[in-house]
Symmetry: C2
Subunit: 223 residues, 2 copies
DNA sequence: TAGATTGTTAATCGATTAACAATC
DNA sequence: TAGATTGTTAATCGATTAACAATC
C-alpha cells in the first residue's frame, strides 16, 4: 500500500480519461450544485446516479479516475464533491472568454446568466459590423475584430466562442488561435479544422433537433 | 441470398442503432449538404471520414446499418446519400416545432436561420410575460402558455423546445408532453424527467465550455 | 483489364456493469 | 455491532478498426 503511485485528493488521473467520463462529470457537478442549494449534506452513488439516469457503479468508477472522494457507509459529501469536480474541470477559477459574432445568438450568449455561475465570464465581444462596434451589450464592450489581438492578450484569454455565420467560422476560429486561444466553442454549423493542441467543441442546434427527430420517428427502442 | 430479411434502400435497421451512430449521421448529412452545394458528385467513405475526423471503416459501418447506399469502386453519390440520410433521420419532411420561453435565448432561436434549412420550423412561441404575448417576433406569433393545447393540436406539433429559466423547465416540459409532444430539446441547465416514450435532449451551454476547459487544463492527451 | 472502393466479417479495443472485500 | 456504501477487480457488453472478397 506504499509502493503504488498515490492519487492526490482531487488530483491527476494516472491514465487518459474517456471523453464520456468528463461529460458525466459536468452532469454530476450540475446536480451537486442543485443538491447543495437545497442544503443536502451527503449523497450516495446510487442516488446521484438515479437522478441522472446512470448506475451507481458508473458514478463510482467515473469519480475513481480522479481520486477517493467518498466515505464508505456514508456516500459523498455534496459540497466537498462539488468543489473537487470544479477543481478537476478547472472551473474552480473564473475563465475569461472572448465572443466573436454579436448577431442574434451572440447577443443571447452575452446575456446568458448561466456562464458566470459556472466559472466563465465573457469579457469582450468582437464583430465586423460598424453599427455594433464600440457599443456595449449586456455591459460587455464590442470591439472590431482587428482589436482581438490586443484585447485577448490584455485579458489573458484562453477560451473563445464563435457565433458568426458558417462562411466566416473558420476564419474567426483561426483569428482566435493566432492570438493564443486554446479552446473554441463553435456554434456555426460547420466543421472547423484547427491545429493540433487547440480543442474545439461544436454545438449545432439543428443537429440536436435531428437527433430528437430520429428517436421520435424510429419508435421501438426504449429510452 | 434470398432467405435473408432484405433491407430497404433507406430502410429500417434490423437491430437497435447506437446513439453515437445517429449523431455521426447528422454530421455526414451536414457535410454532404456542403459538398452538394459545391457541386461535388461523389465521395468515398475515406474522404467523407477525413473531412469529419472519422475512419473510412466507421463511415461505411454506420451507413450499413440502414442499407446499401454506396457503389463499389465509386463511393457514394452525394445528393443520393444526402436524401437517404434525411429520410433516415426523418427530416425529409418539415417538422413544426413549438418554442416555450421567449427570453434572450428564445428570441435567438426564433431568428435562427439554420432550422428551416434542416427540416424544422418554429410555428408558435409561448410565454407567460404579458408584454410579449400577442406580439410577433421574427414573424412568429407569441401566445400565452395556456393556449398551448389549442395551438399545438392545430399544428400537429410533435417537437418542442424549452428555453425558460431552470425553475420553470420541468413544468414547461410537462405542459408540452400533456399536449402530445414526443421530443423535447431542453436549453435549461437542469435534468428534466419525462414519462417513458418521450425523448429529451439537453443542451447546456456552460457544460460545453466546461468540457473545453477540462481538455485545455489537462494537456497531454492528444485530440 | 486494373484500380478503386464498397459491405461485411472477425479481431481488437474500450467502456459499462456486477460483485465483493474493505471501511465507516 | 449491523447496515450501508465505498473503491476496485473481473466479467460482460458494445463499439471501432482491420482486412478482404465482391463489385463496379
Amino acid at each position: 500500500m506504499d509502493d503504488a503511485k498515490p492519487k492526490s485528493a482531487a488530483g491527476e488521473p494516472d491514465g487518459p480519461v474517456p471523453k464520456a467520463v468528463v461529460s458525466r462529470l459536468s452532469l454530476y457537478l450540475r446536480q451537486l450544485q442543485q443538491e447543495v442549494r437545497e442544503d443536502r449534506q451527503t449523497i450516495s452513488s446510487k442516488d446521484l446516479g438515479a437522478l441522472l439516469g446512470f448506475t451507481d457503479a458508473q458514478v463510482r468508477k467515473d469519480l475513481a479516475y480522479f481520486g477517493h472522494f467518498g466515505y464508505p457507509g456514508i456516500g459523498y459529501r455534496c459540497d466537498e464533491l462539488m468543489t473537487a469536480i470544479k477543481k478537476i474541470l478547472g472551473t474552480d477559477q473564473q475563465w475569461p472568454v472572448a465572443l466573436v459574432g454579436v448577431g442574434n445568438l451572440g447577443r443571447a450568449l452575452l446575456g446568458y446568466k448561466g456562464f458566470s455561475q459556472r466559472g466563465f465570464r465573457i469579457v469582450a465581444a468582437f464583430d465586423m459590423d460598424p453599427h455594433v462596434i464600440g457599443s456595449e451589450i449586456e455591459g460587455i464592450r464590442v470591439y472590431h475584430i482587428d482589436s482581438l489581438s490586443e484585447v485577448a492578450r490584455e485579458n489573458r484569454i484562453r477560451l473563445g466562442v464563435v457565433a458568426v455565420p458558417s462562411a466566416s467560422a473558420q476564419a474567426a476560429a483561426e483569428k482566435l488561435v493566432a492570438v493564443g486561444v486554446e479552446g473554441i466553442l463553435n456554434f456555426a454549423p460547420v466543421t472547423i479544422s484547427l491545429p493540433p493542441g487547440v480543442r474545439a467543441v461544436g454545438v449545432d442546434l439543428a443537429i440536436e433537433l435531428e437527433q430528437l427527430t430520429f428517436s421520435v420517428v424510429s419508435r421501438g427502442e426504449p429510452t
